[in-house]
């Protein structure tokens, strides 16, 4: 009888644990993994970077378990809407066009767009100065969109699947300039591959708000906003920021 009681108790405990685990909410973070230093895949195959540190801090604040799912950049919004993951933390700019497809949280950093090119060349970053140049950008980014809208047919625009491929073509000399997020460019210029290159001109666009995308009307948005506010207030955000940049990017 005593044994039986013990057994039942153990069974009940196991059951309680099991149900708790089963009902604990698990969220999936969507990211790209080819956009250092914001999101990249490290040597062990894990997705890491500024975006992911922020995402995990938000999950910790919301007290939920999170796992990371990667997606190609140009399919990342369709994948969110197809419920492959629950929110996108992948340095995504908040744009009116994207707002038609998804909802955004408050911005978690502010970005600028700035050209980079080989050292020692003189480039004026206006329509006249860029005429006839071959300019690279990542497909489906605001840099690509900005180039199409503002320079249109004046430049020869090359669109890449990943930012890394655009840099590869810049170093091989196939393209004259790359337009991308200033922090991403900053990270690349500091790397070995980027030492022959430098920023050209002033940032061409400096109010690019980066947010977390969720599906339309998903209540998750409010929870993320609250968590974001909390990590900014308690200093977690600053700690992550300082690991990557010697200046605040908020």
């Amino acid at each position: 009888m005593k044994h039986c009681k013990k057994f039942l108790l153990a069974l009940a405990a196991a059951f309680a644990l099991f149900t708790q685990a089963a009902f604990a909410e698990k969220l999936r973070i969507g990211s790209e993994g080819a956009y250092p230093p914001f999101n990249l895949i490290d040597a062990s195959g894990k997705v890491v970077g500024f975006d992911l540190d922020i995402a995990h801090a938000l999950c910790a604040k919301m007290k939920v378990e999170c796992e990371v799912v990667t997606s190609d950049w140009d399919g990342i919004i369709p994948a969110l809407n197809a419920k492959k993951f629950d929110f996108i933390v992948a340095s995504m700019s908040i744009t009116d066009e994207r707002k038609k497809a998804v909802d955004f949280t408050d911005p978690y950093y502010t970005n600028k767009l700035q050209f980079i090119g080989p050292k020692g060349t003189e480039v004026k970053v206006d329509k006249a100065g860029l005429k006839g140049k071959v300019v690279g950008a990542q497909r489906a980014t605001i840099a690509g969109e900005w180039l199409e809208k503002n320079l249109g047919s004046a430049v020869d625009l090359k669109l890449y699947d990943t930012q890394e491929n655009a840099y590869l073509d810049l170093s091989s000399g196939r393209i004259d300039l790359v337009l991308a997020d200033v922090f991403v460019n900053w990270g690349w210029l500091k790397s070995d591959a980027g030492k022959e290159f430098e920023f050209k001109g002033e940032p061409v666009f400096d109010n690019d708000k980066i947010g977390i995308a969720v599906r339309k009307n998903d209540p998750l948005r409010e929870r993320l906003n609250a968590a974001l506010k909390a990590i900014i207030e308690d200093g977690t955000y600053k700690k992550i920021n300082d690991q990557y940049f010697p200046f605040s990017i908020l």
Binding site: P78, R98, K100, D161, G173
Partner: protein, 230 residues
């Protein structure tokens, strides 16, 4: 489905169709021309003639086209010697990189088709040609190759259609072929279903056109009557 979006972007998609057709036509034709000597050598009875084409075919059939494309486009460009070399004006251009890679790739497959077709020519016909006093080269030129062409044509048409679909990989090296154009349009409209549907339909139309062309060619070459002689 938003049909008006498809119609609005159709002219752009047709631009992509143009580039896709150029890629397939160039690689299909150049690949065939280069594959014939390769296939003949591959069918040789001497091992030292066979060895080189065998190695080539092994290499290019054994690796994915995407990897080959990246090696040619991003890989070669890493070398200073290539960038300073005489071929750089071509290797700099993604279009020629795609044409070169697709040609090298399809050439390996077509060479195998040529080899198979040559070996399928009935031995009696070759013996008859030799008995009539034709030299080895005459037999190859007037008997074996014309017969092999008829035997290999259906397999070649298959390979061309496979290359049509493989050409979608060109979009990964900034080319705006049908797939590249579709992806760029989707980046602006966020309507993957509509645009990929339209692109898929266009691919289907192109394959249908190719199938028709090859059917006509088979009729003209009277491929079916060749089988009656057995």
């Amino acid at each position: 489905m938003q049909w008006d979006v498809i119609i609005q972007w159709l002219p752009k998609l047709f631009e992509g169709v143009g580039l896709t057709l150029q890629l397939v036509a160039l690689s299909g034709v150049i690949g065939l021309i280069l594959a014939i000597p390769l296939g003949v050598a591959r069918a040789s009875q001497h091992w030292y003639v066979r060895a080189l084409p065998y190695g080539y075919i092994f290499l290019f059939r054994g690796t994915p086209l995407l990897v080959q494309l990246f090696l040619v486009y991003y890989g070669l460009a890493q070398f200073e010697a290539v960038r300073k070399g005489p071929l750089w004006p071509y290797l700099r251009d993604p279009f020629w990189c795609a044409v070169i890679t697709m040609t090298l790739h399809t050439m390996a497959y077509i060479a195998e088709i040529v080899r198979g077709a040559i070996q399928a020519v009935p031995a009696g016909e070759i013996e008859a040609a030799r008995a009539l006093g034709m030299s080895k080269w005459q037999t190859m030129l007037f008997i074996t190759l014309p017969r092999a062409a008829r035997i290999g044509l259906p397999a070649y048409s298959n390979e061309v259609i496979l290359m049509l679909k493989a050409s979608a990989l060109a979009s990964t090296i900034t080319l705006l072929d049908l797939t590249g154009m579709a992806r760029t349009i989707i980046a602006r409209t966020y309507l993957p279903v509509e645009i990929f549907f339209a692109a898929g339909m266009l691919y289907l139309l192109i394959s249908y056109g190719l199938v028709l062309c090859f059917k006509l060619l088979e009729k003209w070459l009277r491929v079916d009557t060749g089988q009656l002689g057995r």
